[in-house]
Symmetry: C7
Subunit: 94 residues, 7 copies
């Protein structure tokens, strides 16, 4: 199963970073501050959205920074995704 | 009786998942977190909505992810439906 | 006396359902959850509303589902009506 | 002195209904729930308002239903009026 | 010194009404309810404001009714004025 | 160093008025009510802002009245400025 | 790694000013009021954003004043950046 976003939406996947403290304890990703960096896993077709022509500027595999609190978290087959509008993506990391 | 949505509206039906705990107790769907995945049961005609041309992109039978808190719950003949605008549908699950 | 709605407005009349409990007590309509299903009793002419062309899609006699909290309740000659904009009507029941 | 409304505004006058209780006590209009029915006493010229062409649909003498909480109450020569935008008028009573 | 309003703005001056109670005590204007009637003392040039053509409909010397809470109070040379947008003027008193 | 405003923005400088009470005590400007009168020190180029053509109507040296709470206070080289959009300027004082 | 902003976004970097008190104690930047002055480190391509043509007016290396509370703070490789829309930049410091 895979997510096919509609319109100007983009499916993102956060990279869950495991982190080891100085004393060697591994902190799972959830206990840390939510990172705003994610990888693009699917991109909607764009087109006329709400009466305005939107051209998709990001591509599958891009590392992106997205707006805090934006988007909807979705769980599919045990994996977690975030679906955002392209306008909630601030920058690509290159 | 059936629901015929107006404009850019879409009628959804949530699949109520029964779930069995490890000890064998069956939890009814209501006791669980509301899923955001639903099946499209009827699609409005689209057209010019609020001065903007809207083309319907989903079809009856599609499995979709929709925006949390979006839509209106409706009961008809004992069945429960959610009526959303197409723009509240984030992605199709394929 | 009758209500002639302006613009894209629609006059609705809720069907007050009397309901008999198992013990035989009749609960008047007011004590129950407000139903969202109503009958269309008058339809405005549509036309250019707030700079946008609106075509009326519902007709007198239609059974419709309308958005919770939408509209204004009006009493006329002892009868109660709800006046909504057509965009607050979600679906027709057929 | 008279009120000449600007743009898409309409001057309304509520009919203060005196009401006699069963025991014969007369309740002045103020002690009752504010009625939403009023008579049109003056109609603005319409025209291009906020970039949109507005055609006036109500006329002096019409009995109308207007939106609760809409409009501004104005006192002139001891009389009370309500000035609303035409879009706050829901229906004409005929 | 005088105020020259920009765009669709209008400078108003309230008439401070002194009022004598039955017992003969004079209440200064401030102790009373703020009247919504004022005289137009200067009118902006109108033109294209926020992308929309605005034609000025009021003139210096007009007695007008303006929207409660609208506008900005300004003190100049000891006199008090209210600067409103023309759309906050509801009606002219004739 | 100087501030060059972008788009339809205008840089203002408030005149800090020292005031002597009847008993001869000098009150510094900060202890008084913030005046809304200021001098224009720099004017943006205008042009198409947010899809709308904006023509600048104020000029360097103008004494203007601006909207309460509007704008952003900026400190540069020990001087304080307020940067507002031209639409927050209500009137020119002549 | 570097940030490539999308659309009308601009990446800013605040200059963290260390400050020595009269008694010689060095106050780190965080303990001070957040400055609104920053340097432009990357500029988006502009173009049609939300249906409106946006031309980028700032360039890499510009010292700018930006709107308080605007933008999103982003950490990359230990450096902190602020990503704002160009419309949140008030003025260039020259």
């Amino acid at each position: 199963m895979r997510l096919v976003p509609l319109g100007d939406r983009v499916v993102l996947k956060q990279l869950v970073a495991e982190e080891t403290t100085k004393s060697g304890i591994v902190l799972p990703g959830q206990a840390q501050e939510k990172p705003q960096q994610a990888e693009v896993v699917a991109v909607g077709p764009g087109g006329v959205i709400d009466g305005k022509e939107i051209k998709m500027e990001v591509a599958e595999g891009d590392q992106v920074i997205y707006s805090k609190y934006a988007g909807t978290e979705v769980k599919l087959d045990g994996d977690e995704y975030i679906i955002v509008k392209q306008s909630d993506i601030l920058a690509v990391v290159k």
